[in-house]
Symmetry: C2
Subunit: 446 residues, 2 copies
């Protein structure tokens, strides 16, 4: 009898297993394929590793501007892929070692939920006081004619492409679409993004989204408000907002219109679990409708981010251990690992207005930072936008793009969680010279 059985070893499942083991719980972790889940094997980590290679390429290309001569610079896809594979395998080994250290039992195989306390893997039935469903999600492929051709790929297949394409069409301008558009375009590939909505990345500040697209002008063509109707051979057919029928030819088509929770073939329906196509229903403590059964991560449909999954796992664990906790969504930072990067935390101006706040904002370009200028040159794109409640002065959100803002944004989560007002933040000292201090400077614009 285990204390906790966790189905799925992504960043929700394996982190929860580690923390539970650290606290002395007897834990079983079930994984159908690889430790680390989508994030480590086919998501965050491989994309960031490839983007690092692309950044080295871009930096080597721009190096003469800063006094470094390099000769011809070229990108070796197979070497970059080999390094990506090495990173994945190193990290997988790291997760395995972590499970061992935390005395977590790991079983590989497909799990079936038999009820509140029983899970079957092949012929074996495991029993646990608590069961945690962390089965994640998968790329959603819409029923577009021609989407089943081999050169139409999801993020999973494109991560193993063996030859550099000369052209790419990305269907869907969300986080995944923008990251791959940035990666391939930085290496000289002609890239078109086709997005059904009026703007890319739905949770990004509107003005920054427009400025970001402008920064990629000449590298990526963004076709907004356009609906793909069919993929005929290598021609992607779409309808423009004006109703025109157009077509773009591409070596590879990336399908990145969204992700769907993994809910099938695991006995959820038979066990009486409450879910719909958006995910398993959970309360603020990640409880499902079944007693002692929790769900965390992408499969809940609450927040499709690795760090949200981890946090949901911690909330579930605290709940199991009788410690009060709650999954809060007001201060979840997010990042897009494009070039330039994009990051945000808290509400955008639009979200704050929609939530009924009297909103005041302040913006500054990152070029205000001496370090940013030194590292990015005079035309380096990027900005910070601070959103506050005008009545209470409370900080509601910070949104950025440019430089390595993915590493800067986390402090905003601390500020929002601590419910700081802008006048409080003005008294906090930021280090100089950094890019991050533009957040503080922006607050002095109010």
């Amino acid at each position: 009898m285990y204390d906790i059985i966790i189905i799925g070893a992504g960043p929700g499942g394996y982190e929860m297993a580690e923390r539970a083991g650290h606290k002395g719980q007897k834990v079983l972790l079930i994984e159908k394929q690889h430790l680390g889940g989508v994030c480590l094997n086919w998501g965050c980590i491989p994309t960031k590793t490839l983007l690092n290679s692309a950044k080295h390429y871009v930096h080597a290309k721009e190096a003469p501007e800063f006094g470094v001569t390099t000769g011809d610079v070229s990108f070796d896809l197979s070497k970059a892929m080999a390094w990506k594979q090495e990173v994945i395998e190193t990290l997988r080994g790291g997760v395995a070692a972590m499970m061992k250290r935390s005395k977590v039992d790991v079983v590989f195989g497909e799990a079936t939920l038999l009820g509140s306390r029983r899970v079957q893997v092949e012929e074996t039935v495991y029993e646990g006081e608590n069961v945690v469903i962390a089965t994640g999600g998968s790329p959603f492929v819409p029923p577009i004619p021609g989407a089943d051709q081999p050169h139409v790929m999801t993020s999973k297949e494109i991560l193993s492409v063996e030859t550099m394409p000369t052209s790419l069409v990305v269907i869907g301008g969300g986080v995944i679409g923008v990251e791959f558009a940035s990666f391939f375009s930085s290496l000289g590939v002609t890239v078109d993004v086709i997005e059904m909505l009026d703007e890319i990345i739905p949770f990004m500040d509107d003005q920054q989204a427009a400025a970001f697209r402008k920064a990629l002008k000449g590298k990526v063509d963004f076709n907004l408000g356009c609906r793909v109707t069919a993929i005929e051979g290598h021609d992607v057919k779409y309808t423009t907002p004006a109703g025109e029928e157009k077509s773009i030819n591409a070596d590879i088509v990336l399908m990145s219109v969204g992700r769907a929770p993994n809910l099938k073939d695991m006995g959820f329906e038979a066990a009486g679990l409450d879910f719909d196509r958006r995910g398993i229903k959970t309360d603020d403590q990640q409880r499902t409708n079944l007693p002692n059964v929790y769900a965390i991560g992408d499969v809940t449909g609450k927040s499709q981010l690795a760090h949200s999954a981890t946090r949901m796992g911690e909330v579930a664990l605290n709940t199991i251990l009788g410690k009060q906790d709650r999954f809060r969504t007001n201060a979840i930072p997010w990042a897009v690992y494009s070039m330039p990067e994009i990051a945000g935390c808290g509400m955008t101006e639009a979200e704050a207005k929609a939530a009924g706040h009297t909103v005041e904002t302040a913006s500054l370009p990152l070029i205000m930072s001496g370090r940013f200028l030194a590292e990015n040159g005079k035309r380096g794109p990027g900005s910070v936008k601070v959103v506050k409640d005008a009545d209470t002065d409370v900080l509601l959100g910070v949104h950025m793009f440019g430089g390595i803002c993915s590493e800067i944004i986390w402090g905003v989560a601390a500020m929002i969680e601590a419910e700081l007002r802008v006048t409080d933040v003005q008294e906090i000292i930021f280090p100089h010279p950094t890019v991050g201090e533009v957040i503080r400077s922006a607050m002095f614009q109010f």
Copy 2:
């Protein structure tokens, strides 16, 4: 009659002038040489610009590891220096424009303090309700025989060196010494650091300092506990801890043993200002002993950091405007822009123990971060150390080295200022995959 007269246009003076002008104060800013002070002209900004060039060199050299091939990589010092100069001039222009926007009058010349409300520049006497002394500091050159030779330089002269040396001896292993050691060694220069104390960078965590030195093994030789006795021609003579007399030959010698406040020839003594060789005495609101006279930044000897100077200026301004404020020193982040970078905020383990806390610490290597691995390779050095009060669980400090931790550390200032406990931080969501999330992971080691 001005509301505020500020002497010195460094990051203390010009930021205060801007904020005061923004609030409608009539401000005069007096500068004897260049807007931006040491930080912009001979300190933070030029060093970071040159380090950026060196980073491009190092990245181009390591690029093959990540799948990017280049021709021969070489460093063109004159081009790097030209870019450095362009950055300086751009930022100087930025400060001038900022002063204009804030309606700050700027006068160039040497200032003499005539009393509480009067400052003379050449033949003109200016009157102000308040006077702020922000005259900064200068490199301290100890009276070592031979230190007056032209190849013995301070950080100011070495920033304009025209030929790349083949060897460099750095006297003094503080922040400035370590940054230049890192810069020149990364470009292939043989570098020796001679430090009188037992360890480099006094406010760095001991274990991390040792690990940092190890990471630079083969590039920089650190000679600790050694006292320089003379510089005979190009031979730097020193005594080891065991009493041995040794000598290192070097093209250039950098003298970086510390900085002293600028106090001379400005009428401070005649005006009756209370100061000693460590600086002008100030209270928590930056008041001096003279009514309506404030002092901020390096000249106070309180904290030799650009962002501390800026904050002291804000405190002085708030005090002048009747708003309660206080210069607090418990959460001042700092960074060393070496390769790898070093950063910290709050107390080190040693400082916390000395302050009487029951201390508990947790450390993790940065290689725990998938992103760090992807970007730095398997041998990338770096770690995070978290210091907490064991009785109250309150976070006291975070210390890091590795990667671009200078951009990550700021959030720690927010957490310490908000007086968060470690259990509070455990509930804050950090974005994945980032290097910064190792701070959070370390907190789960308690």
